[in-house]
Structures are given as structure tokens and as C-alpha cells.
């Protein structure tokens, strides 16, 4: 699909995207004064990070409706480490991801043997398990959740401040937006790198025919656990930042609905395209936000558009590119 060497138009496209995200969007918001867009766009960026994980599990041929579980887990790990152990937010961020990856290996080993709708349904149940566990465990503080979590502190190396304390900033919204956008860009860079590496080829072979790829010596069991762990890492990361933004977490912070949404973002963008989940998240989440002017008809229009889009483009929005470029 992608050429091995990065072509000039592609590079220009990436540059335009970066300029758009880091320069044009803040400029536009400063001009129009719609500061509320920052929150929406930050959410879009973070949700698309989690959706990138879901996309990776799609890539090995598994329907993952359990990303909400890892987002919730990551959020709780970060929140507990900050409030009860006084660890810096920046350190809890990778820890939350790693914790989620470790959990996903444990859970993934048995359940990744399942396929098709069975895997889909188990992961759906997983989201419920995470919610109920958060309710039952004493460390998560039950239904009351964990609140008044401090904003991310200063990050410095050898006394050199890299990221200032968020509490001292006059505009933490912008800071959160930039952080989420950087994370999003890095995530998709990693994803793109994975897909265009040997690992990506192996994943594609899993997607097409697992028995066949096992028969030519691919370690399918290890590969799918690896892909699932990376996927959950992204989920945990996104969850941890969400907690930092809302400064609170409850068992109902990520529910089945969110897990289903992550899946929808991937579908809508197109499962065959690395940047599909990002576009899907932007369209669905931003579209939902804009539709709030329609009041009680919001859900009706939103779901109607979703169904219509599915009828017209069942392979995702990015499949439009296919048609333009001729048959593959």
C-alpha cells in the first residue's frame, strides 16, 4: 500500500497536517474566540490515540470492543499513583500504559484464541468487568471515584524545564491541546511505522488467514498478544491523560458506549487505512459536538448520518481515495 520511500507529495501532506494541527488550529481559535473548541479537539486527539489501538487489533483480524476497559485502567493507575503515592504525572503516563499492556497480556493470552464475534463479545464484556471491578475494589474508592487530582506538574531534566507546571499556566486548555496533539502525532507515527514494518506484514497475514500464516512458521500466538498489548498501551495512555484533564475519575468514566465508539471511529475512517481512526474520530466526535445545536434531534440526525454514510461508503470514508486512484 505505502511505498517504501516517502514520496514528496506524501511528505508535503504530513507537513500540511502538522502545520494545521499546531499552527492553524490555535490561530483559528484565537481569532474566533471559540475556546471551547480546545476541549473538543483535545478529546478528539486523545480518543483517536485510543482508537489507534483498536485499529491495530482490527489489523490482526480481531474486533476489539474493549478499549474502554484499558482507558479506565490507565486512568485509575495514573490517578492512584498521583494521589496516593505522589508520583509525577509525567512518570505515571508511561506507567499507566505499561500496566495496561501487562494486564492485556494476561487477559489476551486466553481470549485471543477466540475469533470473530466471540472475541468481540468477550471484549465488550471486558469493559463491564473493568467498570464493576473499579466499583468493587477498595483502592479505587468505589462509586465515589477519585477526585481533585492535581494538574500535571513540571517536567525537567537536570534542572532544565521542558514542560512547565500546568497549574501556573494562564491557559492550561492550550497546553492540554498541544500535549494531546503531540501524543496523537507520535502515536500515528508509531502505528504507521508498525504497519510498514515486518511486524505489519505479519499482522496482515494474520488478518487474512491465521492457519495459513501459522503453517509457514509465523508465531501467531505471540504476534497477536503483542499487537493486543500495544493496542492496550495506547488505551491506557489516552485514559491517563483524560484523567489529568478532568482531574477526576469514576467507574463510569469509560463505559461500554465508549468502547463501542472507539470501534465505530475505526470503521468509519476505514479499516484499511492507518489514518482512518483519526479521521473517523474527528468526524464523529466533532460532528456530534456541532450537532448539539439541533437539541433533541441531535441523536436522530447523528445516527441517521451514520447509517447513510454506511450505506454509501461501507468500507469507510477513506475508501474514497481508492476510487480516485483506480482499482487496487
Amino acid at each position: 500500500m505505502a511505498p517504501s520511500r516517502i514520496s514528496t507529495p506524501r511528505l508535503l501532506g504530513v507537513l500540511a497536517f502538522l502545520v494545521g494541527v499546531f499552527v492553524l488550529v490555535p490561530a483559528f481559535i484565537a481569532l474566533t474566540g471559540r475556546w471551547d473548541f480546545y476541549y473538543t479537539l483535545t478529546s478528539v486527539a486523545l480518543l483517536s490515540v485510543a482508537a489507534a489501538g483498536v485499529w491495530l487489533t482490527f489489523y490482526i483480524g480481531r474486533i476489539n470492543i474493549g478499549q474502554g476497559a484499558y482507558a479506565l485502567t490507565g486512568g485509575y493507575v495514573s490517578a492512584i499513583l498521583i494521589t496516593q503515592h505522589g508520583i509525577s504525572f509525567w512518570l505515571t503516563l508511561p506507567l499507566a500504559g505499561v500496566f495496561c499492556a501487562a494486564v492485556s497480556v494476561l487477559i489476551g493470552l486466553p481470549i485471543l484464541r477466540l475469533r470473530g464475534v466471540y472475541f468481540a463479545m468477550v471484549t465488550l464484556v471486558l469493559t463491564e468487568v473493568a467498570r464493576l471491578t473499579a466499583l468493587a475494589l477498595p483502592i479505587t474508592n468505589g462509586a465515589k471515584g477519585i477526585t481533585s487530582i492535581p494538574l500535571p506538574g513540571e517536567l525537567s531534566i537536570f534542572g532544565l524545564t521542558i514542560i512547565p507546571d500546568f497549574a501556573t499556566l494562564e491557559n492550561p486548555k492550550l497546553a492540554f491541546y498541544l500535549m494531546a496533539a503531540v501524543l496523537m502525532v507520535v502515536t500515528y507515527l508509531v502505528l504507521w511505522r508498525i504497519v510498514n514494518s515486518r511486524l505489519g506484514h505479519l499482522c496482515r497475514s494474520l488478518q487474512q488467514n491465521e492457519e495459513l500464516s501459522a503453517s509457514i512458521g509465523v508465531n501467531t500466538a505471540m504476534l497477536r498478544v503483542l499487537a493486543y498489548a500495544i493496542s492496550s498501551f495506547f488505551g491506557g495512555l489516552a485514559g491517563a491523560i483524560f484523567v489529568a484533564i478532568s482531574q477526576s475519575i469514576y467507574p463510569s468514566s469509560f463505559v461500554v458506549q465508549d468502547s463501542v465508539n472507539f470501534m465505530l471511529y475505526c470503521f468509519l475512517g476505514g479499516l484499511g487505512y492507518v489514518f482512518g481512526p483519526m479521521l473517523g474520530t474527528l468526524l464523529l466526535y466533532f460532528g456530534w459536538d456541532l450537532l448539539s445545536v439541533a437539541k433533541e434531534y441531535q441523536l436522530l440526525i447523528y445516527s441517521g448520518a451514520l447509517i447513510a454514510l454506511m450505506l454509501v461508503l461501507p468500507n469507510g470514508v477513506l475508501s474514497l481515495l481508492d476510487r480516485k486512484g483506480g482499482r487496487k
Binding site: 475469533r115 464475534v117 463491564e128 464493576l132 436522530l300 445516527s303 451514520l306 461501507p314
Partner: protein, 289 residues
């Protein structure tokens, strides 16, 4: 003890009926119907409207629910699922469509019936009391009996009618059924309508006891998924078994685990995941569905 078993049976009968519709749709079209819970809620609201607003007898409401949902199911299959299945590259695309329909039905329910909890008056009064060992209101017994009668009727229909035979053939092997002269499109539509009708019927039955509200759709879908996972997706006996097993587990769990707080469902979920790790296709399912 008797009480727990009776509660389990009562819950199981209604659960099995929900799972039947879901598994029927899945076996025929390989579609995981996310909107099943919403169809159930819709059926409940139709019965409520007919019985409580128009003042007609309960049975009329039930029939109205069945009809409305059957028509809705047929239309959804004909105009939404069929074209998408034909055009999409991956089977899973139907999941997005199903989720979209779930949202859409939620929106329609909200606009038509509002967000309030609704219920209809009891169909029969009185409580069955056997020596204080088993206490059960008569209306619950009635609903359980009706549900079991519907399940039996459904099995007989699938087993002995021409339509039922065609649908079973379709579930077994779509291509072979087509080659044997089964009108695949027609029976897919009938199957979807039947599945939606079952969901509507359960909604109509339960509106007399627990009432109905907008928020019940999603959790009902999740429970229905659980049941067909226990029994095996796409297998009718499996759906019935799954329904009764979940009903029993819930009933026993709520009694035994009450001391430890609200952990019944956590225990059920974890048990299920361990069970599926050992037997991925459920009790009676075909491997890889």
C-alpha cells in the same frame, strides 16, 4: 432454595426469549445485532402505548408489539443490512450499521415516547404463596408461562414449518441452501423480522412487571450477548440454555453474594471469561461460529 430456583426460572425464561431473537439473526446473516436491546425497549413502549394510552386489553398490546417490530425488522434487513452486506469488503462493517441503528432507535424512542419510566397496570392481581417457602406474584408466573410457551412455539416453528426448515438450512450453509432452491433473500428478511419480533414480544411481556425506560436498551444487549456466548452463537438450543443459565446464576448470585456487595455480575463475567478460555465456542456452538 425453592425461591431461588423459581426466580431463576422466571428470569431465565425471559432471557432465553431475548437471546433467541439475537441468535436467530446472527445465525442467518452473521450480523451481531447491537440494536437488539433497543428493539426490546421499543416493543415495551408499543405495548405501553396500546394498553395504557388507548386502554385496550394487554393481549392486543402484545400483538401490536410483535407486528410493529416484525415490520421494523423486515424493513431494516431489506433496506439497510442487505445493501451493506453486498457492498462491504469485510463482514464486520455490519457492526457499524447495527450500532448506528441502535443509536437511531434510541433517538426515535426518545422523540416518540420520552425518557420517562413507563409501566402498565398489573394484568392479574394476587400473590402465589406456598407456605412462605415460595412467594411469587401471579403476574410473574403468567409472564414466565407465556415466555416458555413462546419458546416452545418458536422451536416447533423452526423444527416443523417450511419456513423454519428453510431458515435452518440457511444457517447451516448459505451457499448450499441457495443451490437447493431456498430463496436466500426472502428468508433472511423473514428471519430478521422474526428475531426483531421476539425482542418486541419480550419488551411487551416485561413492561407489565418491571416497566420500561430508554436506558434499558444497552444493558439488555450486553446481557443477550452474554447468553449467546454461554450457549454458543447461532445455535438455538444454545441460546435457550444460555438464557436459563444466566437467569439461574443471577438469581443464585444475588442471594449468595449479597453479603459481599454488588459483585454478582463481576463474578458472572469473570466466570464466563474463564469458561470461554477453555471452551471458546460456548456450550453448543460450532467452532468459530
Amino acid at each position: 432454595m425453592e425461591q431461588i430456583l423459581a426466580n431463576g426460572l422466571y428470569l431465565g425464561a425471559q432471557y432465553a426469549l431475548i437471546a433467541l431473537g439475537l441468535t436467530l439473526i446472527f445465525s442467518l446473516m452473521n450480523v451481531l445485532n447491537f440494536a437488539h436491546g433497543q428493539m426490546y425497549v421499543f416493543g415495551g413502549f408499543v405495548t405501553y402505548t396500546v394498553v395504557a394510552q388507548f386502554g385496550l386489553p394487554f393481549i392486543v398490546g402484545l400483538i401490536a408489539s410483535a407486528l410493529v417490530l416484525a415490520v421494523m425488522g423486515a424493513l431494516i434487513e431489506r433496506f439497510l443490512f442487505r445493501p451493506v452486506i453486498r457492498k462491504s469488503k469485510r463482514d464486520e462493517s455490519t457492526m457499524l450499521l447495527a450500532a448506528g441503528i441502535a443509536f437511531f432507535l434510541d433517538a426515535v424512542i426518545l422523540l416518540l415516547f420520552g425518557e420517562k419510566q413507563r409501566g402498565v397496570p398489573k394484568v392479574v392481581n394476587g400473590v402465589f404463596n406456598w407456605d412462605m417457602r415460595l412467594i411469587m406474584p401471579y403476574d410473574r408466573i403468567l409472564i414466565a408461562v407465556l415466555a416458555i410457551a413462546l419458546i416452545v412455539g418458536f422451536i416447533l416453528f423452526m423444527q416443523y414449518s417450511r419456513t423454519g426448515r428453510a431458515m435452518r438450512a440457511l444457517a447451516q450453509d448459505r451457499m448450499a441452501a441457495q443451490l437447493m432452491g431456498v430463496d436466500v433473500d426472502r428468508y433472511s428478511m423473514i428471519g430478521f423480522a422474526l428475531g426483531a419480533m421476539l425482542a418486541g414480544l419480550v419488551g411487551g411481556l416485561l413492561v407489565t412487571i418491571t416497566g420500561i425506560n430508554l436506558g434499558m436498551g444497552g444493558p439488555t444487549s450486553v446481557k443477550a450477548f452474554l447468553m449467546i456466548m454461554i450457549g454458543g452463537a447461532g445455535v438455538i438450543s444454545g441460546a435457550i440454555a444460555g438464557g436459563f443459565i444466566l437467569g439461574m446464576m443471577e438469581s443464585i448470585g444475588l442471594t449468595v453474594l449479597a453479603a459481599y456487595g454488588d459483585v454478582t455480575y463481576l463474578v458472572i463475567f469473570v466466570t464466563l471469561m474463564i469458561f470461554l478460555a477453555i471452551r471458546p465456542q460456548g456450550l453448543m456452538g460450532k467452532p468459530w461460529g
